[in-house]
Amino acid sequence: MSAVIAMNADELARGQRRERAQFIGLSLPATLLILIIVFLPLFWLSSLSFLDRGGELSTENYQRLTGDLYVEAFVVTFQISAAVTALCVLLGYPLAYWLSRKPQHTANLLLICVLLPFWTAVLVRTYAWLVLLQRNGLINNTLLSLGVIDAPLQLAHNLTASIIGMVHIMLPFLVLPLYATMKSIDGDLVRAAVGLGSSPTEAFWRIFVPMSLPGLFAGVVLVFIMSLGFYVTPALLGGGRVQMLAQRIESTITIFSNWGAASALGVVLLVMALALVALLHRVFGLDKLFVR
């Protein structure tokens, strides 16, 4: 008997080893890929930022960031990101709520509409906005031919155009996590609140909204952080008048070919984004956002 138990123990241990090997084997390619395409360049980038033009170790690149031009880029970037996030919440929350109250098959169909922009490249969508907003674009021409205005309005190549374009591209990132969270809210909870004496409006604010906050925060974090590093849309729709950090990085490299300075900007942006995530995690517990 004990011989059988010993043999089984061997066999069971072998099975466990095999399972472990499978697990490592399956996750290895992705791990390597992330190491090579994310962490190596990051490491290289941050080490570049600590070298001056002569290749000597220095903090020159970071000192330069305290200059007005850079500080302004940071401020503008944060302002635009905040505005885009706020607009996404204003547009996305009612949309997600409406979707989550629809029967499943209708909701699925409508969700595809929300996702539809994902099937087109960001560049294409940005040019589409240009077609609509520019001096002799669709909107101006229509208004002119209707006689509503005498001269074309300045719709493109400014801050408003950049924000419109960015909100359009970011909206799905807010709606999707929010919709998922709203969908998982037990309808009995709102009913219970009404049954206990809350008016439907009160039940919505006291019960539904707090329950939807995790999804809202997940969406807000996604939109805000992605906006911080946004390049194409503000570059094209802003027409050079809107200088966000990503554009500043680009011009630092293409015009001044100063890799160290550009790297420093990138590192600061990354650190800020991480700090923001860490702060939100401290306040709301981001790990709870995704697993419920």
Binding site: G195, L196, G197, I207
Partner: protein, 364 residues
């Protein structure tokens, strides 16, 4: 609620000719029911019978096509749910997960503008009543199923509603806890001055807790009675079959009466009218093994097929002729092993006339 708030006593509920239809399906088919003030009324029925729809109509979450719902003297049929002033306990508990236990219980008070200090003391008192004193600070996800159920109860009664509605509140609990909570709920009801309407599909639960039970089938009330009457004098085969353990034996009409195995039966109730087929309703525990003929007992002859030991009782399967099986349940305390008949032996079972109920196959 305003007019109802004049007295602090529990309210009667009067439902008249209530109809709710989904397309062609009449989920509530002209239902009328008068629930007495302070009564524990159970709506009992199989799934899809309309019992939950009736409860939700009382709560205001389902709006009927026609009919009347009155709480006391006040018509409620068009009143929005949050103005009906009823306490409600949901099957899924429906506790607010982002609030602590005491915040959950205090919620109805907060809505009603009660001062924070009073909210706290009344919520604590309600938790005390459901034996959860000291649990106020816990999170909802730290509670067991039974504790969650108690919190839901405390929340439904904390604002002293005159009517409390409960939708299968114990169905998610395991059997042992459920039976324990049944007793506790019944005791709680005696302390509360509230009319309770309770929905369940569990006939035993209904029998245990209720003052009266409305058996609902296909959107209609099949029978409304006290538990004992419902069990001993079912008015239809549906009710007889749904409540308790039931064996049916076909019997023959013979003049004014009925006969079984060629012997005329002494009945507790009049013979059903008409000339459709009839069934004798037998509760296995009401059959006696050693039937003496005292003039008030019907006898059923049969052959013992099987003896099954079930812990608290012994079940005998008897062949009553024509392949009809009758089961007899004998409490273990009375079933001295020696006195049990062997398999294959012929026996005569006794059924007292007061327990002899014959029903028509088609409900009248």
């Amino acid at each position: 609620m305003a007019a109802a708030a004049a007295s602090s006593q529990s309210l009667p509920i009067t439902v008249s000719n209530l109809v709710k239809a989904y397309g062609d399906l009449r989920v509530l088919d002209d239902v009328s029911i008068a629930i007495r003030p302070g009564e524990f009324m159970t709506l009992l029925g199989p799934s899809g019978s309309g019992k939950t729809t009736l409860l939700m109509a009382l709560a205001g979450f389902v709006s009927p096509e026609s009919g009347s719902i009155r709480f006391g003297e006040q018509e409620m049929i068009t009143t929005s749910p949050h103005k009906r002033g009823v306490g409600m306990v949901f099957q899924s508990y429906a506790l607010f997960p982002f609030m602590s236990v005491v915040e959950n219980v205090a919620y109805p008070l907060k809505i009603r503008g009660v001062s924070p200090a009073e909210q706290k003391s009344r919520a604590e008192a309600a938790l005390e009543m459901v034996k959860l004193g000291g649990y106020g600070g816990r999170r909802i996800n730290q509670l067991s199923g039974g504790q969650k159920q108690r919190v839901a109860l405390a929340r439904a009664m904390v604002f002293e509603p005159r009517i409390i509605l409960m939708d299968e509140p114990l169905s998610a609990l395991d059997k042992k806890l459920r039976e324990h909570m049944q007793i506790e709920l019944k005791q709680l009801h005696q302390k509360l001055d509230a009319t309770i309407v309770y929905v369940t599909h569990d006939q035993r639960e209904a029998l245990t807790m209720s003052d009266r039970i409305a058996v609902i089938n296909k959107g209609r009330i099949a029978q409304l009675d006290e538990p004992k009457a419902l069990y001993r004098r079912p008015n239809s085969l549906f009710v007889a079959d749904f409540i308790g353990e039931t064996v049916l034996l076909p019997v023959q009409r013979e003049g004014d009466g009925v006969s079984l195995q060629g012997r005329k039966l002494k009945l507790a109730t009049p013979t059903p009218s008409g000339n459709g087929p009839l069934q004798l309703v037998i509760r296995p525990e009401l059959l006696q093994l050693d039937a003496g003929d005292d003039g008030d007992t019907n006898t059923i002859a049969g052959v013992v097929r099987q003896t099954i030991y079930q812990g608290d009782s012994v079940l005998l399967i008897i062949d009553a002729g024509d392949g009809r099986e009758v089961s007899v349940r004998i409490a273990t305390s009375r079933a001295g092993q020696a006195s049990l008949p062997d398999s294959g032996s012929r026996i005569a079972l006794g059924l007292h006339r007061d327990d002899t109920v014959v029903l028509a196959e088609q409900a009248p």
